[in-house]
Symmetry: C2
Subunit: 445 residues, 2 copies
């Protein structure tokens, strides 16, 4: 069903057909379809949906829509939604909505749930604890496969995943895991103990969500258990939530690499002052650092005064230096982020960048020499000055571009900071110093 | 077990212990552990492993290690490996190894499999067909839940996933899907037809893998069916393979945004001439474009000759323009890639960037004015010239940085091209034109 069909059915009050067609759709699509409607129509349709679907649709609304809904639904309805929502979705909502709505939610939840909510809100942002959910299948060692399958049959609908089941002892200590695949292909009289996998890979509640994401990628898991300091199972993370984490972490890298403070909010939903604030700080820092480069020019003003044509090549030298440095730093930053490059590879990286810089530098310098000698007709010595500077600039910028992210990693700064903008500023200054020195020497100024 | 323990056990020839400990490990870790050993030791240990584990370990070796292994194992062993490998893993290997090894593999596979391999190798790179696998659970409408579970029990070990099962008719047309969760919680006498979901979301073999990745993110699926033009089920894509696709697509964006030709190979495994080639083309294009900027400077040589101090601010103006343009383009490119920004938002994006540029531009211009007036002591009119240029530069670069990726998207060019390096080159020229015009006007040159 598309928007047009929806409007048509609403206009003609064909609610039975509407309900039937919505029920056949994926909840994500239903949520998107209802989003642009006014709150009353949208609530009207929402109330027609079967309870399961309604809650799933609610979980996929935008934060704004959830906020609007919570303020118009009855307490009874809110209570139903809260009871049915997966715990991680509820936590996400509570973190986003204003205090009065949080109050409304807490008033409508049970005491034990309120305590759990408070515990979850206390996990550090971006920790494994902050993205886990508590709806997992909990089995015991002495159960048989048949018991386990019956247990899943009874409770499976309310679990975020039933495909990995967790075996815990009476103190909730994690003892093993069993996949539903294993349960289904095993003999029904076997005990869980005999088929479970005891070498469980897990994370701690306070581990970074990036650590969890790394484990998912490495092992191809569908879910990952999260344990507390005492080794007690406190929740699980599922692969669909990890996909969001991966996107979010990558976006942060993109932002940092373009000299912005990272932000989790969506561009179109963020107001202009917040966006401006995220951009100004780094621009100011870099602007003031560029003063240094200006200082070099001022120091060599006499060289420029003598041969003002040299100025014309400054932009090309600066840009090429910045670009070749960015190329190197981007590859290294990304390689570090994906774990393809590690600190112990620093030597290999430097050597590689050095060799590449020779190849790239010579190519660019030669092309550049003939271009400006033949077309710009600036004379042999000036062409030579520019080309030598270009070669040195490319070489230096590639080595710096490769080195700085590794150094950052070593001293526990995010390597993404050492990207294009910062490299450019550094390389600019170096390249101008080389330029003027070569010029003074070759042109005898 | 770590490397040290492994060496110890090998040295003391404690193979029984070694085997036992390896069997308890995840196959990914075993593969990593065997990788640095020499091929004979590694093959010796490999041969001790139970067949299932051995094949899984093989699938996780690096391409180089797989190549080495294939050339030393017996034909019988290779045949066993090939029979047990998941089809998508085998295709990956065939695509990477040299022709003589491909021949060895094909000689050791059955005729029907050879035909399938050829079909798969013909799917376009980066298409859904190229990343799918054929090991899925195939059910029929008239089966009961009990039949289906028995079918899974018998064949489930050889399937890439059993958690989503596919219902097809006698012509292999996809009719519906049933999750294993649904099967397990349903009554065993129900028919598949009565519990299956008929509104299946799928991709076509020739759809881009990015499309598939988008669907996984949107719906949180664990697997996605791939059908051919006639709607026949030809394979499935699983979520673990999609995680690789997401990383790969993001890496390509990073590379394009840093002015490199995208490459799928890992940095450390790529030789320097290939790496250099990927970088040179864009550097040349941008270097030659920067000529244009140099031309502007040469045109205004008299202005510079008159007031040579103006040159000192060129780097700062260029860098700040480039940085603020990169910020905008990065956010828009990333927003487009994640689907958070769409073409229809172009107006909103422009308006937003325009407003932000005013806030950012004024802030930077004011700070800059006082900085150079008070500290560089270059006089009121020059300070004013630089600050006005800075304000205009920031404004223009943000609007261009926001606009170009959207235009690229509109005309079906990858928006990632319209990133920092290209924006910088464009903004450089504009900002210098503004600079000299303002200077001529204010300073009466």
């Amino acid at each position: 069903m598309d928007e047009r069909r929806l409007e048509e059915l609403i206009k003609e009050k064909k609610y039975v057909t509407l309900k039937k067609e919505l029920e056949e759709m994926n909840e994500v699509d239903v949520a998107e379809l209802l989003e642009p409607l006014n709150i009353h129509t949208s609530l009207l349709i929402f109330r027609m949906l079967p309870k399961d679907l309604a809650v799933d649709v609610f979980a996929h609304f935008s934060v704004e829509q959830q906020r609007n809904f919570i303020s118009v639904v009855t307490d009874k309805e809110l209570k139903d939604i809260i009871d049915e929502l997966f715990f991680d979705d509820m936590i996400d909502i509570i973190e986003e909505v204003p205090a009065n709505i949080v109050k409304k939610i807490l008033l409508n939840s049970k005491e034990e749930e309120r305590n759990l909510i408070n515990q979850f809100l206390n996990y550090p942002p971006d920790s494994a604890g902050s993205i886990m959910t508590i709806e997992y299948v909990d089995l015991k060692k002495m159960m048989t496969v048949k018991d386990a399958l019956n247990h899943i049959k009874e409770t499976g609908l309310d679990k975020e995943t039933v495909y990995t089941c967790y075996v815990t002892d009476k103190n909730r200590k994690l003892e093993g895991i069993v996949s539903l695949r294993k349960l289904v292909i095993s003999d029904e009289d076997e005990t869980i103990e005999s088929i479970m996998n005891e070498d469980v890979i897990y994370v701690h509640t306070h581990d970074d969500q990036e650590t969890a994401a790394g484990i998912f990628k490495r092992y191809g898991f569908l879910a990952l258990p999260v344990v507390d300091k005492e080794g007690r199972l406190t929740g699980i993370i599922t692969v669909d939530d990890i996909m969001d984490v991966i996107d979010q972490e990558t976006t942060e890298d993109f932002q940092k690499m373009a000299a912005m403070s990272p932000s989790e909010e969506k561009y179109l939903d963020t107001n202009i002052f917040v966006l401006a604030k995220h951009r100004i700080i780094w621009l100011l820092v870099l602007m003031i650092s560029a003063t240094f480069t200006g200082g070099i020019i001022r120091k060599f003003e006499d060289v420029l005064q003598a041969t003002v044509v040299l100025t014309a090549f400054i932009p090309m030298l600066m840009d090429t230096g910045g670009n070749s440095g960015s190329q190197s730093s981007t590859l290294i930053i990304r390689g570090l982020a994906l774990g393809e490059i590690e600190l112990k590879d620093a030597g290999r990286v430097m050597w590689k960048e050095f060799q590449i810089s020779i190849v790239v530098g010579i190519t660019l310098a030669v092309v550049n020499f003939f271009r400006i000698y033949l077309f710009d007709k600036v004379g042999f010595l000036i062409s030579l000055t520019v080309s030598i500077t270009l070669f040195v600039t490319v070489m230096v910028s590639k080595v710096i571009g490769g080195l700085l992210p590794m150094i950052a990693k070593k001293v526990n700064i995010d390597p993404a900071i050492m990207a294009g903008p910062l490299i450019t500023t550094i390389v600019d200054a170096l390249s101008l110093m080389v330029y003027f020195s070569v010029a003074s020497f070759l042109l005898n100024i």
